[in-house]
Amino acid sequence: MFPASDRGFSRRDTALFAGCMLLAVTALFTPDRITLAIATGLRQTVLAPLVWLQEQAEAGRGSRARLKSLLAERDSAAFAAQFLPSLTAENERLRALLGLSHRLRTPYVAAEVLHQAQVTDARMLLLSVGQADGVASFDPIVAPEGLIGVIWNAGQHTSVAMTWAHPEFRVSAFTANGSAYGIVAASPNATGSDAYLEFRGVPYRDSVVAGTVVLSSGLGGVYPKGIPIGTVMGVIREEAGWARVYRVRPAANPASTGHVLVLIGRRVGSVGEAFSSDTLEPSPRSDSVKVERRPRPAPPRATVPVPPARPKADSAAKAAPESTVRARPDSTPRPPRRPRAPPDSARPDSTP
């Protein structure tokens, strides 16, 4: 039997409490660089068995339901893949006509979200992949519905992700119709289930109608262009008489997401390159590129052609939604490269 203690308070108890409080407050004001190292160290040592345990639980949970869903998706993908060769050829032909570069290839790794019981769970997520899987800090994280966030700190086998719900989260964005650019951030006035984002810095002349889809613009080099962020719901306020702030309903919900993709491909290094990479193409899984990833190679700038002029925003916007409907290469093998499309189209050089 181990009843509730009847021991009185002592100086030792008070000293222990004061010491713990002092250390906790010190941790609160310690720079991120140090605290991240401590957190990573703890996750890789003392907490490693517990993280492993939770990974097993998350992986096992709902595996039967996920199998059914995967089978359905595979069937759909296999059906869609029947039209892939002709679509690819047509796409290449049209891109050549428009003078656009090839799409970016963005490899990814799949990760389980290890949700914690804390009240701040949706702001920072623990993911079951780390540096050993090719993940590094500032890799973007997406769910099937859209953008989730970015890797904040990558450990050896786990990573901590900052989601869009974090007060410090920012992503450069533009509307799907290409009419407005701005910065998307979490709203300071959002309340739990009513969490929403703000599309800030949109000039007065660029009005955005409700229902417009907002995508990542690729500027800044962290997030590839074309990831759905959310849908505009209306104007929240006006800033200093020159810009509007719009309310955006997020596309993906970090609190209820159990499975995400971490985009581990090379990031666009400059604004010029960002504009050249106007769309995304089907991405290879990380296991096919993991070897290339360590150490992360510098962006091969010479291989990314920079167009002479900025492509039309609407062309990027039209192509962007494709990026959300990617087929996994391991389920749909890439067809052998076909020769140029027959001269049955409107190419000027092919007309007799």
């Binding site: 509730a4 203690s5 096992g60």
Partner: protein
């Protein structure tokens, strides 16, 4: 039964709670309202070990929490230290061997933990009010219910009274 046996029993229950938290909870519960077995373990440990040990246990549990989900590193450490100390202090005021009192301690501890965590991690006011007004009380209820079930299962070990 000796104090040594009592400690072994307490450790056995705490290990069970850790397993429940990291293996059973992700399989059975979803979302924000899942019971927090770590906090329940902290409260029952603190109530049976004294304020100093409770504070140290809270510090360690908070450190682990911060390492797993660092919204603001140190926020959970601070919150759990306060909860551990306060739980040990509270048992001197209330009848800590009653099942409902134990469950009440757990619920109050979780709400206070959330309050300190949200404030220390700089949560916007609107979200803070909703969390403290809706989600935290609900999670406190689920945690208290799960805790009451565990205490009932181990009532012989913890010398818990079932009468009101």
């Amino acid at each position: 039964m000796s104090a040594r046996n009592g400690r072994v029993q307490l450790v056995a229950v705490l290990v069970t709670l850790v397993l429940l938290h990291f293996y059973v909870r992700p399989r059975l519960f979803d979302g924000r309202l899942a019971p927090d077995f770590l906090l329940f373990g902290l409260v029952i440990f603190a109530m049976r070990s004294g304020p100093g040990a409770g504070a140290v246990a809270g510090f360690l549990v908070g450190l682990a929490t911060d390492a797993l989900s660092p919204a603001r590193f140190g926020a959970a450490t601070l919150a759990d230290t306060v909860v551990g100390y306060a739980a040990a202090w509270g048992r001197a005021v209330f009848f800590a061997d009653n099942l409902l009192v134990n469950a009440g301690f757990v619920a109050a501890g979780l709400w206070v933990r959330d309050l300190i965590m949200l404030v220390a991690s700089g949560t916007p006011q609107g979200q803070l009010l909703l969390e403290l007004g809706v989600y935290s009380p609900l999670q406190a209820l689920t945690t208290a219910a799960a805790g009451a079930f565990v205490l009932y299962a181990f009532r012989q070990w913890f010398a818990v009274r079932l009468d009101a």
